[in-house]
């Protein structure tokens, strides 16, 4: 646990905590609903990595753009997609943010410029570059943030996209969430260069390395990084060092890593360490936490009720939106 004091006012700090708690409780409920077969398909939980989305995404402005991965529930929630619409999407209901066509891996929201949700590792990266290029060509000064795992850095598309963004000096914030495992393959078993910032720096892009388990560290780094990209209108790469506490997906028996390793990382869990710091600094009491947790749990319950009451898209609409209607 970081012994650096939390440099925020109480309300500001509690907002960061609330973001993390919303992700945690939402996903715990998703895992439970998966067990009840209310949610099907692939379900990739972000639990353990909450500090990254919670710390970084609030720094973006409403008209900035985001491109994420198939482990994107947290990003969607922090970005402001309603938990009700998100849960309805998990259920496959028409009221879901993608009308139930996407599910867990394909969350989209035009209103918040949330461009997925992409179930191809690295598949969102060139899109990220293209969104930034569109801004450049239209003379709009915005930031496009692309989130991806360290696994994507083994894909050719990472290198092609970094090269393009660097070559054309586009305002892209590359956010690598390094949770050490590409499904079951640990970093050193898949990368000849395990320092990811070295790979990124080879494109002539400035790099940062951040403790992704500490929401304060993430938030402060994100403020600097987003400001850098916004002001200079050129790319920056940030590696957030983090860890997922749950298995890769609900199908994963998690046999490839030591239980001791998981326990060790849990000691650094982003939620309880931040809570402890806030209490130690007198910014929050246990009662405050319970009240906050109660509010979040009520929001989750309301989201579940909303999804339960949702409707199924009529089969007659199956082929709707393959093409844009005339």
């Amino acid at each position: 646990m970081s012994d650096v004091p939390v440099p925020y006012e109480r309300d500001y700090a509690l907002t960061l905590l609330r973001h993390m708690l919303r992700i945690r409780r939402f996903e715990e409920k998703c895992a439970e609903l998966y067990g009840q077969q209310k949610i099907r398909g692939f379900l990739h939980l972000y639990i353990g990595e909450e500090a990254v989305a919670a710390g970084a995404i609030p720094v973006l402005k409403p008209d900035d753009a985001l491109v994420c991965t198939y482990r994107e529930h947290g990003h969607a929630l922090v970005r402001g997609i309603a938990m009700t619409a998100l849960m309805a999407e998990m259920y496959g209901k028409r009221e879901g943010c993608s009308r139930g066509r996407g599910g867990s891996m394909h969350i989209y929201d035009a209103r918040t410029r949330f461009y997925g949700g992409n179930a191809i590792v690295g598949g969102g990266l060139p899109m990220t570059v293209g969104l930034a290029l569109a801004d450049r060509l239209q003379g709009i000064r915005r930031v496009t943030a692309g989130f991806f795992g360290e696994g994507a850095m083994a894909e050719g598309v990472f290198h092609e996209s970094m090269n393009l963004a660097a070559l054309w000096k586009l305002p892209v914030l590359f956010c690598c969430e390094n949770n050490l495992y590409a499904m079951g393959t640990r970093l050193e078993r898949s990368e000849s260069q395990t320092d990811l910032t070295v790979k990124a720096a080879s494109f002539g892009v400035p790099v940062r390395k951040v403790d992704g388990m500490d929401v304060v560290a993430v938030h402060e780094a994100a403020k600097e990084a987003v400001a850098f990209v916004r002001e200079r209108q050129s790319p920056l790469f940030v590696e957030f060092q983090t860890y997922r506490f749950r298995a890769h997906s609900m199908f994963d028996p998690d046999l490839y890593r030591d239980k001791a390793e998981i326990e060790e990382w849990k000691q650094r869990g982003p939620l309880h360490t931040f809570t402890d710091r806030l209490k130690a600094q007198g910014l929050m009491t246990e009662d405050d936490f319970q009240r906050l947790d109660g509010e979040v749990n009520a929001e989750v319950a309301a989201a579940v009720a909303f999804a339960e009451q949702g409707s199924w898209e009529p089969i007659a609409d199956l082929t709707r939106d393959v093409y844009t209607p005339p």
């Binding site: 992409n118 570059v129 293209g130 290029l133 393959v322």
Partner: protein
């Protein structure tokens, strides 16, 4: 006005760039080099490097970048040098461009145009000579165009740019030097319709792209033998315009599909299946197909010619359907 197919594509691009500030070009050597088929020569000087963007050899990234730019409000035209190279970008074409609208519940359209050269006939050997447009026509969510005439080279590109969804345009490499008439101003073209290029009564030849001209030559040869062949240019390979070729086949009662792609799982197979499903009882003979031999297209001229559909094979295929006279 008589101009080349290359000039027609060039004019269509030029007019789009001049008319719509959202349009920009991106691809390998489209700028300083002038385009690998010299389609965009002079554009860099006229429109500048922001709108005429030379890319690195990164098909996957620059096609995907086109998807992102389209989402971001632009109207990108991405040039991929040749169809075999487009396989490097297949993930972005398939998994993003084609799927995004449906997968997002209708929230995002991708108004992206991708142009590429296709087809054989210039002894460029196996990795520069294939006709994979039939493959792409398998994918819901994208539209596939194959302009065969100078008019269509201009008009289909203009129509593609006006379309809100991703459109792939396959230009047969042998057509770039072909001359034809283009009205001034060029007539608007309906990109949803196939077109009857020659009327006939005994058999329908259904084809597209570079093969149109071989089919028309075959129709000439057949006419000399007293056989009247109707020739249909599909023009749009997805979504297929069933009505036009079914109407024709119901009249002529015979069909030969001419397709430069490989026979197995080809566009010709799809057209043939649709005729069987919807016009079976109107047929006097089984649907025939003239396709490329199922080999990588070889370099040596005699082998390349042997691998491709030729006029003589089309004529023979038609005659095999007709009662001997």
């Amino acid at each position: 006005m008589k101009i080349t197919y290359r000039e027609a594509v060039r004019q269509a691009l030029h007019d789009a760039l001049a008319r719509d500030p959202r349009v920009f070009l991106m691809g390998e050597d489209v700028g300083r080099y002038g385009g690998s088929y010299a389609v965009t020569k002079g554009f860099l000087d006229e429109f500048g490097p922001e709108r005429i963007r030379d890319t690195p050899l990164s098909e996957l990234a620059f096609v995907g970048c086109g998807v992102g730019a389209a989402l971001g409000g632009m109207r990108p035209i991405v040039e991929v040098m040749t169809v075999n190279f487009s396989l490097l970008a297949l993930d972005q074409i398939m998994n993003n461009a084609a799927l995004l609208r449906h997968m997002s519940g209708g929230q995002f359209s991708v108004p992206l145009v991708i142009r590429m050269a296709t087809g054989a006939g210039r002894q460029l050997a196996a990795q520069h000579s294939h006709s994979l447009e039939g493959w792409y026509a398998h994918i819901p969510g994208i539209k596939i165009l194959a302009p065969a005439t100078v008019e269509d080279a201009y008009g289909l590109l203009a129509a593609a740019l006006a379309d809100p969804d991703p459109v792939l345009i396959f230009e047969h490499a042998l057509l770039y030097n072909m001359e034809g008439e283009l009205a001034s101003p060029p007539a608007a073209v309906d990109m949803a319709r196939a077109w009857v290029r020659r009327a006939g009564t005994d058999v329908t030849l259904i084809t597209y792209g570079g093969m149109l001209w071989k089919a028309l030559d075959a129709a000439d040869a057949l006419a000399a033998d007293g056989i009247s062949a109707e020739v249909i240019d599909l023009r749009v390979l997805r979504p297929l315009d069933n009505a036009t070729f079914l109407e024709s086949v119901r009249r002529t009662r015979r069909a030969v599909v001419v397709d430069e792609g490989w026979r197995s799982g080809s566009l010709a197979a799809e057209v043939s299946a649709r005729i069987m499903e919807q016009a079976f009882y109107d047929l006097d003979a089984p649907v025939a197909r003239v396709c490329s031999a199922e080999v990588p297209i070889p370099y040596a001229k005699h082998l390349e010619e042997a691998a491709l559909p030729q006029v003589s094979r089309i004529v023979a295929a038609v005659k095999a359907l007709l009662p001997s006279r």
